[in-house]
């Protein structure tokens, strides 16, 4: 027993024998961590190798500047602009819903709501974020599209607008929860100071809390737009399937993600040009979202450094 040794007077301390098990554990854990690095490497390799092959057949300039996307027709056209335009159109309309209402929800939850209200409202909003996107697609197609048609806001069964509106609502919790985190991190002193100078609640919210939390709020905006760009099922179901170079949200469009899903779900022969288009468009999508994600991660780190 250790106590007996202590009472015995001179205690001899010596290095315990090396415990190999401890080292093995550390290596196993590091290997687990390695899997997520390998995932990124795998994504980059599996996207870019076929994409590079694709650009041997189709010039990069032709891909970026072309205005017709018709990979399956003869003669085929590989101009990515219609898909990019469709993606931008849908994401922009979704952002017009998600950003103001998401920020409004965050301000309400952080500055206005009582504790009991927050306890009910926050989990309810979280449910919105947990509903599968295929369900939102169903909702856009069967409820929002007919509604927009009755209002004269869309001509056919499919439109960019119905997909975008539903996607916008889906993204409200994304904006709200990250923005609210940033606002909660703003010290109380700042608010009290503003109240002491005679500000009302709106002035405190808009002129003190929002500016102080701005990097987190912008991070939430960027993250929401990145999600909108990468969202697949809603547009696949409700936006229609024709590549369409337009900025009229009442029309049917195809986004990059919807193209990938529509082409990749079938039996495209490996190595064919149709197969490689999946990777060329996928690589474009990956680069686009990567830039936005890294920007957003940097902003989040900034607000964490300032107040936490």
């Amino acid at each position: 027993m250790a106590t007996q040794e202590v009472s015995a007077g001179a205690v001899r301390l010596r290095a315990t024998r090396r415990r190999w098990g401890e080292d093995v554990v550390k290596v196993v854990l590091a290997l687990c961590a390695l899997i997520s690095i390998l995932t990124t490497v795998g994504i980059v390799v599996s996207l870019f190798l076929p994409a590079i092959e694709f650009f041997r057949d189709v010039s990069l300039w032709g891909f970026l500047s072309g205005t017709t996307w018709a990979p399956l027709f003869q003669p085929s056209h590989f101009g990515v602009q219609p898909l990019v335009a469709g993606t931008i159109l849908v994401s922009l309309c979704a952002a017009l819903v998600a950003l103001p209402f998401g920020l409004g929800s965050a301000i309400y939850l952080s500055e206005y709501a009582r504790a009991t209200e927050r306890k009910v409202l926050k989990p309810t909003l979280e449910i919105l974020a947990g509903i599968p996107t295929v369900v939102y697609g169903y909702f856009a197609l069967t409820l929002i599209s007919p509604l927009l048609k009755d209002l004269g806001l869309q001509a056919g069964v499919f439109s960019a607008l119905s997909a975008a509106l539903v996607m916008g609502v889906m993204l409200i919790p994304t904006v709200a929860s990250l923005s609210e985190d940033a606002m909660s991190a703003v010290p109380r002193d700042l608010r009290d100071g503003a109240y002491a100078l005679g500000s009302n609640r709106m002035q405190v919210s808009l002129r003190v809390v929002v500016p102080a939390a701005i990097s987190g709020i912008i991070a939430s905006f960027v993250l929401a737009i990145s999600r909108a760009v990468g969202e697949t099922m809603i547009v696949l179901i409700a936006a229609g399937g024709q590549p369409n170079l337009t900025f009229d949200p009442r029309e049917a469009v195809q986004t990059m993600t919807a193209f990938i899903a529509a082409t990749g779900q079938g039996d495209v022969p490996t190595g064919s040009i149709e197969y490689k288009t999946i990777f060329a468009v996928g690589a474009t999508l990956f680069v686009l979202t990567l830039v936005m994600n890294l920007f957003s991660i940097r902003l989040v780190r900034k607000f964490r450094e300032v107040y936490e």
């Binding site: 687990c32 995932t39 369900v135 409200i172 709106m202």
Partner: protein, 289 residues
């Protein structure tokens, strides 16, 4: 001495305050009203086909006798495989990052940014990885195991982030106490830190699982969009419940739309049960230190 008179000023900006507050109510109302409308329309439309036929019969061209049995079974199998794959790897990564990694090292900082980015990579990109690497690359084929592996990669960042938060919430005094009694590093982690972090890890993992079981896009690319009339096996063709719903939604006939709504009711019932279970664990077992 001059006398300062203070008088109540007419509060300015009362109208703008009221308008602003109205905007806040609308903001929070839009989300909740949409959620309510969605749930009500789905239940109203799909309720009539939610029965034993839906749960126990294979799909069919006749919506009257069509069920989702193979899809529901595949979703259950996917869930079990997901837990088996993602929890050990995710918790292992989290332990490495929280307890072992030295943050001054560039590779550990890279790991951190890498995981944050992976959490935001569109799920369809994981689908492309699955198609290129698992289905065609190593020739695994369009099987359930490939779907489970890809969904594991999709949820792994979420599991890691949740597990890290749970591990970080365990106070250092517990670790110090165990070290003082002569425990080794792994003994401290295995017997003190992990048991204390288990409720948080369980909650996060179940929430991640419920997110993953609703994923459709990556499964489309690994070939889940097939007609499967038999019970799935791990190394066989499969379709999952969200994919089955997509197949029904994509058909123009009204009866299949109704069937899609019924499938959505079953899917939401599974996911909301999982969510409720996660919240119950959090409320029941999580300790405030």
């Amino acid at each position: 001495m001059s006398v300062t008179t203070l008088r109540a000023e007419r509060p300015r900006g009362r109208t703008s305050s009221a308008v602003f507050k109205a905007f806040l109510y609308v903001s929070i109302g839009v989300g909740i009203a949409t959620l309510g409308t969605l749930l009500i329309t789905v239940v109203a439309k799909g309720w009539k086909y939610v029965d034993l036929v839906l749960l126990l019969e294979p799909p069919s061209a006749d919506p009257q006798i069509a069920g989702a049995r193979p899809a529901i079974l595949a979703t259950i199998y996917l869930g079990l495989l997901l837990i088996a794959f993602s929890v050990p790897i995710g918790v292992g990564t989290a332990i490495y990052m929280e307890e072992y990694a030295n943050r001054d090292r560039w590779y550990n900082r890279l790991l951190e940014v890498n995981i944050q980015n992976l959490a935001a990579v569109p799920s369809i990109v994981y689908g492309i990885l699955g198609l290129a690497f698992l289905v065609r690359g190593i020739g695994l084929g369009r099987v359930l195991l490939a779907g489970a592996m890809i969904l594991t990669l999709v949820v792994l960042p979420t599991v890691i982030i949740a597990a890290r938060e749970a591990i970080r919430a365990v106070p250092d005094s517990i670790r110090q106490g165990a070290y003082a009694l002569g425990a080794t590093k792994w003994q401290v982690i295995w017997r003190q830190v992990l048991p204390a972090a288990t409720p948080g890890i369980a909650t996060g993992s179940i929430l991640a699982l419920s997110r993953a079981l609703g994923e459709t896009a990556p499964l489309l690319l690994v070939g889940a969009l097939t007609y499967v009339s038999f019970d799935p096996t791990i190394l066989g063709d499969f379709t999952a419940l969200p994919v089955q719903i997509y197949q029904w939604v994509a058909r123009p006939q009204e009866d299949f739309r109704v069937l899609a709504a019924s499938g959505i009711i079953v899917l939401l019932a599974i996911l909301l049960t999982l969510n409720a279970f996660a919240i119950w664990i959090r409320n029941r077992y999580q300790r405030k230190w």
